[in-house]
């Protein structure tokens, strides 16, 4: 149990403008595409046009002869680089190694096959068209269930199957629960494949110094140290000789937390060519070959009493993993996460989950905000709405009956999650109150009488956050997870905070500065947060899975507290006072009760660095502390309500408003929390109504540009109102919980729920997403052919 050792100061919890914004507003912020190095050359990848094919040969002679071309590489040239493979150690998980350039086979359209290096990108693209690859097309399989069936084309012949994982977990006694049930229900939902699509695509620059044997690598990545570790392993360069620098990163959402073959190839090329090599992914490449997400086939069964009490659940989660069980978290990343969080914030004592991960001839699937949870939560909530309707119960009452109430917390679920604290029912109540639920139901009835269809979708959620080792295990991914922070006072008295988490939009330069400023009693402007350069920061795991507020904030808190102790010791000697009697605030240390007896932090710092007599033997002159943090599991929660109107003649949906109640414990900066929710909800709207990566049965991606992959714009996203509750975590430093993914976990169910609620008089049946206008008309039987 961690004490909140420091009382809240003026910065934590304040709605502070972000200190990093000015450079973005003036166009001075530099992303990897903006970096120019002398003698730099440009890469363009040649990619497979087939979903499944053997490579018989590659002739690069025409490309090599093209203007401005410096080199063309294929697998033969990079054969010394080991293949990429996921590191997840779970019994029964088969491995699917991926060479960085395709060797004998290609398994998805877009798989990198060769790389062309030229003086500029225009010339590289010209030459890429001239690379002749002799393919022997093979039958492709693009549906997970078809891939599981006997006789399906095999992506990896030596595995003998396209199933890389198939395990069933049993918690409690599901069979008895189903036997004792008054009613049982079933539901199937095939969730749509969609993706992170950050506005900045992937990109990297490699530069190798032969004399020093050093590689400098700039990449738009979420995990600089992990990338460094990987590059060291793959290229045989000692880690200490690799420096990874992230410039600004234009959005990641999990897509940039993974290692990509293109990054390894670019690093290899930098060493090979002795010139800086730049690769900036274009949007077509991103849509086609950066990791996809979210597609699962989920089948649920529920055992229920007549009064609506849930007795048990069964789930089958089939993850459609794409062409490789991808190297970061494997093809399990979706179905495992979905299965283990299926009970959600409901009281379920008996639960059986079958988790299946399958490879198919589509782009590999990786993590994307609320990975696995989006699909699982959507399926479960829509299922519960259907059950409630069948039982003649209000869907809100069904949920209230089965939700874990606040007085039951902490609560250990049957599948092993320990919910430390939360406000599940309170959030639901606040969301309904904020949206004016009763008035809305009345309005719904009025509008129906006029032939208009308004609906309300309600989606309460619990969100695993902070991704320390304990929670990683609880949600199905055993992998150690920790990070650290180094806080130091410069001789000038200014504060430097070096962290290993990494901002790609979340405002860490501000929020982590707020934490340090409060503990060290300085102004926000006197704190600089440094991240994103492995030469300037301690080793850490980066930002993903909503870690940074807790782990970054926690590590900064612990380190800053230690530095605070050091400051007070030195100041105590300077003021001839007991450190316990000193107050540190407003950049000064003063004696409690005698404010004129004070020294500035700058004076303390200068003395510490340069005046030996203020230090005892062995004391650190540099007022620096590095502390690591691996938090206990902590869970945020909230509730999202969506109001929508549907045109039953055209299937068009107009979202009226969204209300989001969020409880993420101690809040560092409510403005940033709001921003995270807005963005996650917008992505949920996209993933429910608009975004869909569609393949034909030969594995051709039919939605390969922004004309067909439809991201929501300002006219599709309605006003989103956020209300905050604050239940501090009892198990983390300062009671901070993570947040940021709940919006994408829970808003699809609320959006889809609102559409289905609007159309309730037509008794719609939905087993597939997204809810395009056509799917909506089919769901209500307007179109049948």
């Amino acid at each position: 149990m961690v004490q909140m050792a420091t009382p809240r100061g003026k910065w934590i919890g304040a709605r502070v403008k972000r200190v990093e914004d000015p450079r973005f507003l003036t166009g001075d912020a530099r992303y990897v595409a903006d970096l120019m190095l002398p003698r730099m050359v440009h890469a363009a990848f040649v990619r497979s046009p087939y979903g499944h094919a053997r490579i018989k040969g590659i002739d690069a002679s025409a490309a090599l002869a093209a203007p401005g071309v410096i080199a063309v590489l294929t697998h033969a040239d990079v054969a010394s680089v080991p293949p990429l493979q996921d590191p997840i150690a779970l019994d029964g998980l088969k491995k699917t190694p991926q060479t960085v350039l395709a060797s004998d086979k290609v398994r998805f359209v877009g798989e990198p096959v060769a790389v062309v290096i030229a003086e500029d990108r225009y010339l590289a693209e010209d030459a890429a068209e001239l690379v002749q690859v002799d393919y022997e097309p093979l039958p492709a399989v693009t549906d997970a269930e078809a891939a599981m069936a006997e006789g399906a084309p095999l992506l990896f012949e030596d595995l003998g199957s396209n199933v890389v994982y198939d395990q069933t977990y049993r918690f409690g006694d599901p069979d008895s629960a189903f036997q004792q049930a008054d009613r049982t229900f079933k539901k199937r939902l095939h969730t749509n494949r969609f993706m992170a699509s950050p506005m900045e695509t992937r990109g990297c620059i490699g530069q190798y110094d032969r004399g020093l044997g050093e590689l400098t690598f700039w990449s738009s990545t979420q995990m600089p140290h992990m990338l460094r570790l990987s590059l060291a392993g793959f290229l045989g360069i000692p880690e200490q000789k690799i420096r990874v620098i992230t410039p600004e990163v234009g959005g990641g959402f999990g897509q940039k937390m993974t290692l990509y073959p293109e990054e390894v190839v670019v690093a290899f090329l930098a060493r090979h060519l002795q010139r800086p090599v730049k690769w900036i992914e274009d949007r077509r490449e991103n849509l086609m070959s950066a990791t996809h997400a979210k597609e699962q086939i989920i089948e649920l069964e529920a055992a229920v009493k007549n009064d609506g009490t849930l007795l048990g659940l069964r789930a089958t989660c089939i993850g459609d993993g794409g062409g490789y069980s991808f190297n970061t978290a494997s093809a399990l990343v979706e179905p495992q996460a979905a299965a283990l969080m299926m009970p959600g914030l409901y009281r379920v004592a008996n639960y059986e989950a079958r988790v299946v991960a399958v490879v198919t001839n589509k782009t590999p699937v990786g993590a994307f905000r609320a990975v696995g949870w989006t699909a699982g939560h959507t399926a479960r909530e829509l299922f519960f709405d259907e059950i409630a309707r069948e039982l003649g119960m209000d869907p809100v009452e069904f949920r209230r009956k089965n939700m874990i109430h606040e007085d039951e917390l902490p609560y250990t679920t049957c599948s092993g999650q320990v919910y430390d604290s939360g406000s599940y029912v309170k959030s639901l109540d606040l969301a309904l109150q904020t949206v004016g639920y009763d008035e809305l139901r009345a309005r719904q009835a009025e509008l129906r009488a006029q032939g208009r269809y308004l609906g309300i979708g309600i989606s309460p959620y619990v969100e695993p956050t902070a991704w320390g080792s304990e929670i990683a295990l609880q949600v199905g991914f055993p992998f150690p997870s920790h990070d650290n922070a180094r806080v130091s006072i410069e001789p000038s008295g200014k504060v430097t905070v070096a962290v290993t988490t990494h901002s790609h939009g979340q405002g860490h330069e501000t929020t982590l500065a707020q934490v340090a400023a409060d503990i060290l009693g300085v102004d926000l402007a006197d704190v600089t947060v440094v991240f994103g350069d492995t030469a300037a920061t301690p080793w850490g795991m980066g930002t993903y899975a909503s870690r940074s507020a807790v782990i970054g904030g926690g590590a900064v808190t612990l380190a800053a507290q230690e530095v605070r102790e050091k400051i007070l010791k030195i100041a105590g000697r300077m003021l001839e006072a007991d450190p316990a009697d000193l107050v540190l605030a407003d950049g000064k240390v003063s004696v409690q009760g005698s404010p004129d007896r004070s020294v500035t932090l700058a004076e303390v710092a200068v003395s510490s660095y340069f005046v030996n007599s203020v230090r005892a033997e062995g004391e650190d002159p540099t007022l620096t502390a590095t502390r690591f943090y691996d938090p206990k599991a902590t869970y945020s929660n909230g509730c999202i309500v969506v109001v929508a109107e549907v045109d039953p003649e055209t299937g068009q949906v107009r979202l009226d408003r969204v209300v989001s109640v969020e409880d993420c414990g101690t809040v560092l900066n409510p403005m940033i929390v709001d921003g995270q929710i807005h963005g996650a909800v917008a992505q949920g709207i996209g993933g429910t109504l608009y975004e869909h990566l569609v393949y034909d049965d030969q594995g051709q991606l039919l939605t390969g540009t922004f004309m067909d992959y439809l991201l929501p714009t300002a006219t599709e996203v309605p006003p989103i109102q956020v209300e905050h509750l604050e239940t501090p975590s009892p198990v983390t430093v300062q009671g901070i919980k993570g947040m940021g993914e709940g919006g994408l976990m829970a808003s699809p169910a609320a959006v889809a729920g609102a559409v289905l609620d609007a159309l309730a008089p037509f008794t719609p049946k939905v087993e597939e997403l997204p809810l395009s206008p056509e799917r909506i008309l089919r769901a209500i039987g307007t179109i049948t052919d």
Binding site: D21, L25, T26, G27, A196, M199, G251, Q506, G675, T713
Partner: protein, 155 residues
């Protein structure tokens, strides 16, 4: 074969020899070395490349630099004057209208153009006027709030 062109960007004359196929976006970023203008899709949908050409908002990835010979261009770098933020930049800052910042230059230029034409837009007009710019981080709430806060103030 390259052509010699000259444009004025943010009041500064820029000359270069370019192939006709070089886009205005690439010219701004490489020849004028103004990297504030971003490339998000290069097929005219996302709006990250938005600049003003002779006072009108355009997608610079859909114009060839040779077509802009002799034109006046304004990019995000030209918004602030004498070290002072334009009120739109200030409003974006105050309203948390940016997170990763990649779409921000495009949104600033589109908002600037919107307000030039329609100094007092309604919220619907703001949303429609900005529907040609895509943001993946903010859900547009802060952006709309920022433009609203500037709407109606004299310029």
């Amino acid at each position: 074969m390259k052509r010699a062109i000259a444009l004025t960007i943010n009041g500064v004359r820029v000359e270069a020899e370019v192939e006709p196929r070089k886009t205005l976006a690439d010219f701004i970023r490489e020849d004028a070395e103004l990297t504030g203008t971003k490339l998000g899709c290069e097929h005219g949908v996302c709006g990250a490349c938005t600049v003003l050409l002779n006072g009108e908002a355009v997608r610079s990835c859909l114009i060839f630099a040779v077509q802009a010979d002799g034109a006046e261009i304004m990019t995000v770098e030209g918004l602030a004057q004498n070290g002072q933020f334009h009120k739109l930049q200030q409003a974006f800052w105050e309203n948390h209208a940016l997170q990763c910042g990649f779409c921000t230059p495009g949104f600033l230029m589109s908002s600037y153009a919107l307000l030039q034409e329609n100094p007092n837009p309604t919220e619907d007009e703001i949303r429609e006027g900005l529907s040609g710019n895509i943001c993946r981080c903010t859900g547009y709430q802060g952006i709309v709030a920022a433009v609203k806060s500037v709407a109606g103030s004299a310029e």
